[in-house]
Amino acid sequence: MAQRPPDPATPLWRAAQVFRLLSCLYALGFQIAVNGELDRPAIGWALFAVLIAWSAVCAFAYLRGFGRRASWVVAEIVVVVALILSTEFVASGQWALDNQSWPTTLWATNATISAAILSGPAAGMLAGVVVMIASTIVKGFINYDLGRNATIVIELAVGLAVGMAAQTARRAHAELEQAARLAASHQERERLSRQVHDGAIQVLALVSRRGREIGGQTAELAELAGEQERALRRLVSSADAETPAGEMTDVGALLRKQASDVVSVSVPAEPVLLDTPTATELSAAARNALDNVAAHAGPQARAFILLEDLGDSVTVSIRDDGVGIADGRLDEAIGEGRMGVAKSIVGRMDWLGGSAKLTTAPGCGTEWELTVPRR
């Protein structure tokens, strides 16, 4: 049998059962006090026995956990409503008007609490309204005087408060779990990275180095080993990039993922945090610029990314040492509608409230300077 994850609302369920016990005692007191006034006291006691038995079953079901589901809570609401409606049967109409509905509002609140714990404030308040409707039917009229009849207010308040508590408990638990998972996977990556680092990377680097010296066919092998060494090194160093720090993301980590044999990435040692959408857009704009380098700068071109954190703004420079763009060629390209990538970069930076500057000269490569202000 699959182990069910522990329910973070368990303490609430337990507290609710303590409340259930107290409400049963209160209902017992009420039952003893009013029994003489009922039209059919014997049936009253019989129904009370049902109430106690049902309460015990519910408490057991909720404490053990198998009752914590919609069908069970709906059953509880139905029983509560049925018992409230039975007031008509055991007592006179006048009694119902003069007293709180049998078997006490306090006990009926159990259904509201269960619904709230199971499904949050909306469900809790809905259950409260259902209980209220049942008791209104018994009384036969709606009491608008909230000063004298606070039942609806209390039912709604209990549903809201308990529901929010349950929701908060679940959210906190989910966040805690995610944090623990992230920490665990981060640790594992660190461990792996150390192992890969000390073993595979060093040996690959050595093979590539020796191989190149020997030359001939071995040089080809060396080239392959070298490629793998660099790829592994990048993989290991960008492993931490996949851990976004909540709403903030390290742009440096995103940019480091772009590193390759022909792209060098320089970033500060400290993470450069921007809110996640900004960081993603900025890194995407840098990627656009790199795509441009690959497409237009020539086969020998290398690209260099520099990330600078200037406090109130963040700058990413993307320079290549390719063929550059001749004077006038840029305008010509815009005229021909072939500046899609450049437009996309400028568009992204505009959207971020930043700026994009392109400098180029024939034979001197191109350089984009992308700046975003910190908000």
Partner: protein, 212 residues
């Protein structure tokens, strides 16, 4: 002197350097061994790996320089240019090279280091630049506490060019300076970080009563 915890690497580097005409006076696999041997052989240049058997390269750099202040440290690391490399520079390393560098590049780098020239990569320039900016930002918010190291406009300009992949020669042409001047500027930025690091360590020691 070659410091590396990986025996095959250590031997390979030592052999390459010997082939290139250098004399390898000692090898070591960890911080303690490096300090002990450096105190005896007083090496001109130490080729230093970042991951050692009993510590890291930054620590070893500091300890070797403590017993042999005239040594110059060239970091040869398989790791990417991250915090640990910055730490080594702060501890006094004047050069940084990745292990994927060729035999030729290694030889050139050791020669440059022995002549007192800085060996750097775009990645290292980006790190150093970032470190100065971090210092500038933290000293405006925190207590000033003496003179925080800062870059001159020229140094900032040069570091940015280096980080963007321009070679010293290309920067020299752009700024109408000599090749050597560019290297001196880069080296000055390293040195200021080292001095600041030492001052900080000393202040920490005094504040915490560790100087006795």
């Amino acid at each position: 002197m070659v410091v590396d915890d990986h025996p095959i690497w250590r031997d390979a580097v030592a052999r390459d350097l010997a082939d290139d005409g250098f004399t390898v006076v000692a090898t070591a696999d960890g911080v303690a061994a490096a300090r002990r041997r450096a105190a005896v052989v007083l090496p001109d240049v130490v080729v230093m790996d970042m991951r050692l058997s009993d510590g890291d390269g930054a620590q070893a750099t500091a300890e070797v320089l403590a017993v042999s202040p005239s040594s110059r440290i060239l970091v040869l690391s398989a790791s990417d240019e991250r915090e640990d490399v910055l730490e080594a520079v702060k501890a006094g390393a004047t050069g940084y090279l990745v292990k994927s560098a060729s035999k030729q590049e290694l030889g050139d780098a050791v020669r440059a280091t022995s002549e007192g020239r800085a060996v750097f990569t775009p990645g290292l320039a980006g790190l150093v630049l970032g470190e100065y900016r971090r210092i500038a930002q933290s000293s405006t918010t925190g207590p000033a506490g003496g003179a925080a190291p800062s870059l001159t406009e020229r140094e900032t300009e040069i570091l940015r060019h280096v980080a963007k992949g321009l070679t010293a020669k290309q920067i020299a042409t752009r700024l109408s300076l000599s090749h050597r001047t560019i290297e001196n500027h880069v080296q000055a930025t390293f040195r200021k970080l080292q001095v600041a690091n030492r001052v900080e360590l000393a202040r920490y020691a005094i504040e915490h009563g560790l100087d006795e």
